[in-house]
Amino acid sequence: MTIMEEKMVPTTAPVIEKRTYGGFLKNNVREYGMLLSLVAIMVFFQVMTDGTLLRPLNLTNLVLQNSYIVIMALGMLLVIVAGHIDLSVGSVSGFIGALAAVLMVNYNWNFVAASLACLVAGAIIGGAQGWFVAYLKIPSFIVTLAGMLVFKGLALALLQGQSIGPFPEAFQLLSSGFIPDVFNGESLRISSVVLGAVVAAVLFGIKLRERVAHVRHGMEEEPGFFFLAKQAVFAFVIVWFCWLMASYKGLPNVLIVMFVLMLIYDFATRRTTIGRRIYALGGNVKAARLSGIKTERLAFGTFVNMGVLSALAGLVFAARLNTATPKAGLGFELDVIAACFIGGASASGGVGKVLGAVIGAFVMGVMNNGMSILGVGIDYQQVIKGIVLLAAVCVDVYNKNK
């Protein structure tokens, strides 16, 4: 089909502005700002805790403590980008933890079968809530507020107010296991370091390929210097972290799960049609619908996805505690939602990035961890976290209006 081979409107083409370092920084202050503030917070606590923060043991704990928040933040980001919210994720993850305990401990299910059943249950829960939101057009805030109460109650009912545990050894490995060391390193888990190096190299290769393609189409904005510096820092940080953790027990299994999920969701949001359509849905639902996007099905899908990730987070958390308690999942939704907003997602939908949400989750995590080491009480921890959330969003809004 030949749509308009020739240029139809004879007028002068506008001059393309020359790109400058300063201009680029200004336009991307958000992305670099996020990363820099995470680094700043880490440096701050590293100094304040006399180096405790980045000790291998603590670093490993930090990852383990935040893994379930990060996992849920991935799903929550999609929900928020689609223009919705899910308040039920904490309750759902708690409920799934309870379900897992009942299946594995009381009914002696195999841990694989039980885990799969739990993930399916998560999908069904997410689907049920998504159905109300997407097809009955009931505000997600209300639907998931109801879900929050329902599943908190169901978790209590399922556990009959008791804690159930312990879990089978094999299941515990999900959270407390580390990748095996094939090299039998004495004080250093060499395979963890090697894996880190390989991952860093592969990521660098992928980014470089992407950039070459972008430059070919003239769509690259980032100056080459920034690109190289960013990638170098990134690769260094990955290898360094792996090294640190390798000097303790190596890379935790859950870190691998989390990292793989993060890569998948980052790719899905940036490069797939589904991801693009979710952004369109949140940006302008009517325009998206008139562009032939099945908006209801898509919104439904984001909730199903959220349900599955909540279930996974529930399993990780249960495996970490090695017991299912009625209090599991309490207040998780707050950390998860805060992570997304700190990471730059917009409450009105259509805006937000997976890496932002992950960084946001770690900002919260590092603050939790750092303040605990410093002996700041749980009372003021919450105050400080609240203020940081508000400040992050204020900076965001300010930058946008500038």
């Binding site: 070919r216 769509m219 693009r276 302008n284 008139l290």
Partner: protein
């Protein structure tokens, strides 16, 4: 005759001191000079029109005047009523009697007329609102603006035209001395527009000065005493209508800074009986989405031939948009019946996906609300309706997508820094081109254009017309809905006239005149 006052302080043509004078106004935003050396003088009791292309700085100038951009954020001087004014906010300017009515009406839909009229200005005694007094005064004000509604009516139940009148009543309640109207008739039908302009003329008798911002030059010509033309942020000409006839061409010339030989691109018109029928609708019926008993489209038959531009004329609410959107995948209405054919074969258009798949594209009349992802860039907007073309197995090829967007940017001459620019920052005409680009990228056979030039400036209109002509030349079918009869007459091969859900007339372009179209609407109306 015109008095040219290029780059000098606007010289009032009539005797006496102007009520408003703006001198040497300059306003910059980071990296952009929005206004530079703008001069404006409005005489007491004068209707003064400000015209200019989109992006010429009209709205910015009014924001400076009304205090939205407070004193100190701009350079220059504002004199109102003989004294220099330094407004620090809207409340300040309103206290002086300068009241602005924005294009997007600022009424609270779920409050009553009286509540809206006195919003922020409630007649109160010791903090308690005196509703009896408020309703009494509202009734007086409504009588002045000629609106026969109870003050207790909720604003949401009024049409746009009546809402506009409520806005004006609200301005009157604040003892307006200078009324600023930004595109007041953009969303009004012809009758309501006329009534509104008459009202302005009546206010003039009472000594209320008025600044009218409008793209509709016939309206400007009808009511304006003086015209200030803005171009690229500067006041380039002051035209005095009292001194003699000012022609539309004269205004347009000043607006675009060049001769505009023809407002429509020349195109060979299709002979009425020539060509192959590509698209056809038979006995199409649509019911209102909420009130199922109301039939909005009542048995419409329509044909579009290869390379033909077919217009649908009619007043607002005639059912034209309803017809178009219901055909486009049932995006409007319920209990839809009838048949749609493409190349003689009946096609299934029960969902938007299927309609797009069959080569139908619908360019909405509401580009901000229904057309664009404003927070997203040009690239993503262009590819949205046809992501398949730039992806394989669900994975988008970023390079191909960028190239496609850049291609349409070039072909449609979208003025922007690059295709990574957010669409919210584009002017109306360029936004419209982005929406057009999106639908052209979906490779349609039939393009339905709903008010394609609404709210965009003369230069951009010509570009849109040129694009339409080129598309028709390539053999695409174009169905154009428009409330502006001149553009239908200027562009279409054939025109259907729609009224109250029915087609009440059909004209070949050679036979169509504004009068004949209007007559067929009115005639049908009187029969009913």
């Amino acid at each position: 005759m015109t008095t040219e006052t290029l780059q000098t302080a606007a010289a009032p043509a009539a005797s006496g001191a102007p009520i408003l004078e703006m001198r040497g106004i300059r306003k910059t935003f980071p990296g952009v000079v929005a206004l530079d050396n703008v001069n404006l003088a409005v005489m007491p009791g004068e209707i003064h029109a400000i015209v200019g292309e989109n992006g010429a700085g009209k709205s910015t100038l009014m924001k400076v005047l009304s205090g939205v951009y407070p004193h100190g954020t701009y350079e220059g001087e504002i004199r109102f009523d003989g004294a220099e004014r330094r407004f620090s906010g809207i409340a300040d300017s309103e206290a002086c009697g300068v009241i602005i009515i924005h294009q997007e009406l600022a009424l609270v839909p779920l409050l009553s007329i009286a509540e809206n009229v006195f919003l922020g200005n409630e007649p109160a005694r010791r903090g308690l609102i005196d509703w009896v007094e408020a309703h009494r005064r509202t009734r007086e004000l409504l009588a002045k603006v000629g609106l026969k509604e109870s003050p207790a009516t909720l604003v949401t139940n009024l049409g746009v035209g009546k809402q506009q009148l409520v806005e004006i009543a609200k301005a009157l309640a604040k003892r307006v001395r200078l009324l600023i109207l930004d595109e007041p008739t953009a969303s009004l039908n012809e009758k309501d527009s006329e009534a509104l302009l008459d009202l302005l003329l009546e206010f003039k008798q009472h000594g209320i000065a008025c600044i009218l911002i409008s793209h509709k030059l016939n309206e400007v010509k009808r009511v304006a005493d003086g015209i200030t033309v803005l171009r690229d942020g500067a006041s380039v000409q002051h035209l005095d209508c009292r001194a003699g006839e000012v022609s539309e061409d004269q205004i347009i010339r000043a607006m675009v800074g060049r001769e505009l030989a023809d407002r429509y691109p020349p195109r060979p018109r299709l002979a009425p009986d020539a060509g192959e029928t590509v698209f056809e609708i038979r006995d199409w019926r649509v019911h209102h989405p909420i009130h199922a008993e109301r039939e909005m489209v009542k048995g419409v038959n329509l044909k579009v031939k290869r390379g033909e531009i077919v217009g649908i004329a009619g007043l607002m609410g005639a059912g034209r948009t309803e017809l178009a959107m219901s055909v486009f995948g049932r995006a409007y209405g319920q209990k839809i019946s009838g048949e749609v054919r493409m190349h003689g074969q009946p096609i299934d258009v029960s969902t938007i996906q299927k309609a797009i798949g069959h080569g139908i594209a619908y360019v909405t009349e509401d580009r901000k609300g229904l057309g664009l992802l404003l927070e997203d860039d040009i690239r993503h907007n262009v590819s949205l309706a046809n992501l398949k073309a730039v992806s394989s197995r669900g994975i988008i090829d970023g390079g191909a997508e960028f190239a496609a967007a850049a291609d349409y940017r070039r072909k449609l001459n979208i003025r922007c820094k690059d295709v990574l620019q957010q669409t919210v920052n584009l002017s109306g005409g360029n936004q419209q081109k982005v929406v057009l680009g999106k639908w052209l990228f979906s490779k349609p056979e039939l393009l339905i254009l709903d008010e394609p030039t609404r709210g965009i400036d003369v230069g951009a209109k010509f570009e849109i017309y040129s694009i339409m002509a080129a598309l028709a030349d390539e053999g695409k079918c174009i169905l154009m809905i428009s409330s502006e009869m001149p553009e239908l007459l200027g562009m279409c091969d054939r025109i259907y006239v729609m009224n109250e859900g029915r087609f009440v007339g059909e004209f070949a372009s050679a036979d169509a005149t504004q009068e004949r179209i209007m007559r067929s609407i009115v005639k049908q109306g009187s029969d009913a």
